[in-house]
């Protein structure tokens, strides 16, 4: 389906990643946003607060991030596409209800413009240290989808992708920006509405009495949704449930319910996968990065190539689910993976796990507050080819 032109600000813009994310959400058809202000994400909510009344959207500033997350889940069951926006401390507060969204298989987008942590940490300065929290910050076993844009243009484009993935897989999608990308101002081209492909909510169309809000058959199908108020009289619970949505509190039901939540993402990793590969065919080492760090890595990679090193790159756009098959395959071809990221070891550990000793993994850590010095990445590349 094409985007609704009402929400698409077609044209060339010079805006930062936060504003571009807001525009992406509107273009994607998001019409409900609940949020609570927090640096460095607030501009997304501000953009939406200004734009929504002119595009038929509903923005509400809630009393905290717990409420924001709960509100978007409730709203989604009322029909609209929904989003919330936050940064570290707020992301932590959202965790319990992110689990609820997972359990209720409620499509929603959660934007986290990452800043340095733990705790209040570095409010205005960058980090990529919530990547593990994005995956498993809520309790229990589950899988989500997480995306990392590396430019304001991508904050626009990939926010649309995030909504499309959320609707396709009925899952919360974590849109993991970082402060640099959020506050960086660049040219953002917003195309005509008929150039933007969006996935609408898959509403059920069959007989009312046959409706099942969940499908745990293992067929790989995702049950369609309904919206409250249409006479389906559904029951939806965060308790372990059956396909009718009714509580089912035993080990067998738990197995069906939880396996479904995990399998629908992990078994479809290749369908969900989004990444950029460059010069990996003859590469001896591969730099794996995401978000702002992928742009810093470019300089190191250029310098390495100029020095005659066979270095390739993989930029993860979808970070979760992790492209484990790809890493397993490449591990037997290359000497080393170089993983720079603005944390002290998160995605690098995933790479190391799937490289499984066949290639070495060199982590290039950074505690946050600023981006890497490209020379540190270059040094790691040189170490990797030895």
């Amino acid at each position: 389906m094409k985007a609704d032109p009402i929400g698409v600000a077609t044209g060339n813009h010079f805006i930062d990643g936060d504003h571009a994310c807001g525009e992406g959400a509107i273009a994607a058809g998001c019409r409900f946003l609940a949020g609570y202000p927090i640096t460095p994400s607030t501009e997304v909510a501000e953009r939406i607060a200004e734009r929504f009344p002119k595009v038929g959207g509903m923005f509400i500033q809630m009393e905290d991030e717990i409420a924001s997350m709960a509100a978007i889940i409730g709203a989604a069951w009322g029909g609209p596409k929904v989003m919330t926006v936050t940064s570290g401390p707020g992301f932590s507060l959202m965790m319990e209800n992110i689990g609820l969204a997972v359990m209720l298989e409620t499509p929603c987008v959660v934007v986290n413009v990452q800043r340095g942590g733990p705790s209040t940490g570095l409010p205005p300065l960058t980090a990529q240290a919530d990547m593990m929290q994005a995956r498993w910050g809520s309790h229990g076993d589950y899988e989500i989808i997480a995306l990392c844009p590396n430019s304001p243009q991508e904050c626009f484009d990939l926010t649309i992708t995030a909504f499309n993935l959320a609707e396709t897989w009925r899952v919360p999608v974590m849109f993991m920006m970082d402060e640099c990308v959020g506050h960086m101002t660049e040219k953002v081209v917003i195309p005509e509405a008929d150039q933007i492909e969006i996935v609408p909510r898959n509403f059920y169309k069959g007989k009312k009495e046959d409706y099942r809000p969940f499908n745990f058959s293992g067929s790989g199908e995702i049950a369609p949704m309904i919206k409250a108020g249409e006479g389906y009289n559904i029951h939806i619970t965060g308790l372990t449930h059956d396909e009718r949505g009714y509580p089912a509190l035993d080990a067998e039901a738990q197995d069906k319910n939880v396996r479904h939540l995990v399998d629908k993402i992990l078994k479809n990793e290749e369908k969900i996968r989004l990444l950029e590969e460059d010069q990996i065919d003859d590469a001896e080492v591969i730099v794996i990065s995401y978000g702002i760090t992928s742009r810093v890595s470019q300089k190191a990679v250029q310098d390495a190539r100029a020095a005659g090193i066979k270095v390739g790159t993989i930029r993860l756009i979808v970070v979760w689910p992790f492209p484990e098959k790809l890493i397993r395959k490449l591990a037997s071809k290359v000497k080393a993976f170089i993983v720079p990221e603005i944390n002290l070891g998160q995605i690098s550990l995933e790479v190391e796990r799937y490289a499984a000793g066949k290639a070495i993994t060199i982590h290039v850590p950074h505690a946050g507050g600023w981006v890497h010095d490209p020379n540190d990445i270059l040094k790691a590349i040189k170490k990797g080819v030895k």
Partner: protein, 301 residues
């Protein structure tokens, strides 16, 4: 306190029924989920009955009414209602319901949940929903303790009452919920007990059709925990207690209706006033400011 005892020989003739009796409210209940989890003589079922009767009385289209609960014994209410019903997380029924009500503005959303859920962990959401005059009806089943987790003290436990985490008696000052609701902006505030089924039903019917934030506290027995721990007898004994000590005082100043341990309980309708609800107010406000540029949110098709 008086105990109700059954007469030694009952003169009541129970008619033989060839068919199992049908629940008179079965159209509104997910009877396929019965037996429910509640203990015998628990007050929660009575509140559910009052809710269904109130909904019928309200004249609202049941398909346009949704119920949200939090977590707790009371929080299981949503799960037995054959309406669009949502069982959310502990304390978060109100923000979930806020989203639902705004997401589909055709809906009337009611919250049925416990005192711990609404006034402790969910207290912040409660005061803000009331402040915003969100179009919600909150029914708080106050059994003076956290029942589901085993009878701990909570923000409504009266001083002196015993609870599993207040083994020497509770000493904190409890909330007076109608006072809290009124001071935060609720347009309809009432308190009843599970003995006052007819009046609670009427209050629920009134609240459901009242635009804005309405609040009804229903005092209900938890015979298994609160009553047992405090040696107050069965649910029936507590109903007798409500009968003997509840005093109807419509329009009472909510400041003056604190609940003290096993003392008089003031019940009645305390607040019923008009104030534009959040959704209507937002629409007219933005229409005013933005004129032709304003496109109101109307939900999805």
């Amino acid at each position: 306190m008086n105990k109700i005892t059954a007469p030694a020989t009952s003169t009541l003739k129970v008619p033989e029924s060839p068919e199992p009796l049908e629940h008179p409210m079965k159209d509104y209940l997910r009877t396929e989920r019965f037996p429910h989890i509640w203990c015998s003589t628990c007050g929660i079922g009575t509140v559910l009955t009052a809710f269904i009767a109130g909904l019928q009385k309200s004249g609202l289209d049941r398909d346009k009414v949704a119920v949200v609960s939090g977590i707790g014994c009371s929080g299981r209410a949503a799960g037995y209602l054959r309406l669009d019903s949502f069982h959310s997380t502990h304390g978060r029924a109100i923000p979930f319901a806020t989203g639902l009500a705004l997401g589909n503005p055709e809906l009337k959303v009611a919250i049925i949940s416990g005192d711990g859920d609404i006034a402790a962990i969910g207290g912040n959401h409660f005061i803000h929903a009331a402040r915003r005059n969100m179009n919600l009806t909150v029914i708080c089943i106050n059994n003076f303790n956290y029942a589901m987790t085993g009878g701990q003290a909570g923000p409504t436990t009266p001083q002196e009452a015993n609870a599993s985490t207040a083994p020497y008696g509770a000493y904190e000052y409890p909330f007076n919920l109608p006072y809290l609701a009124e001071s935060c902006g609720a347009v309809y505030v009432a308190r009843w007990t599970s003995l006052h089924v007819r009046r609670a039903t009427k209050a629920i019917a009134e609240a459901l059709v009242k635009p804005g934030f309405s609040f009804i506290e229903v005092i209900a027995p938890c015979p298994t925990l609160y009553a047992r721990r405090n040696r107050l007898g069965t649910g029936l004994d507590l109903m007798r207690f409500y009968h003997d000590t509840a005093k109807i005082q419509h329009g009472a100043n909510t400041k003056d209706i604190d609940i003290e341990y096993q003392k008089e309980i003031i019940v009645g309708k305390f607040v019923d006033k008009d104030k534009t609800d959040f959704f209507t107010n937002r629409n007219s406000f933005l229409q005013n400011k933005l004129g032709d540029k304003y496109i109101p949110y109307k939900g999805t098709k």
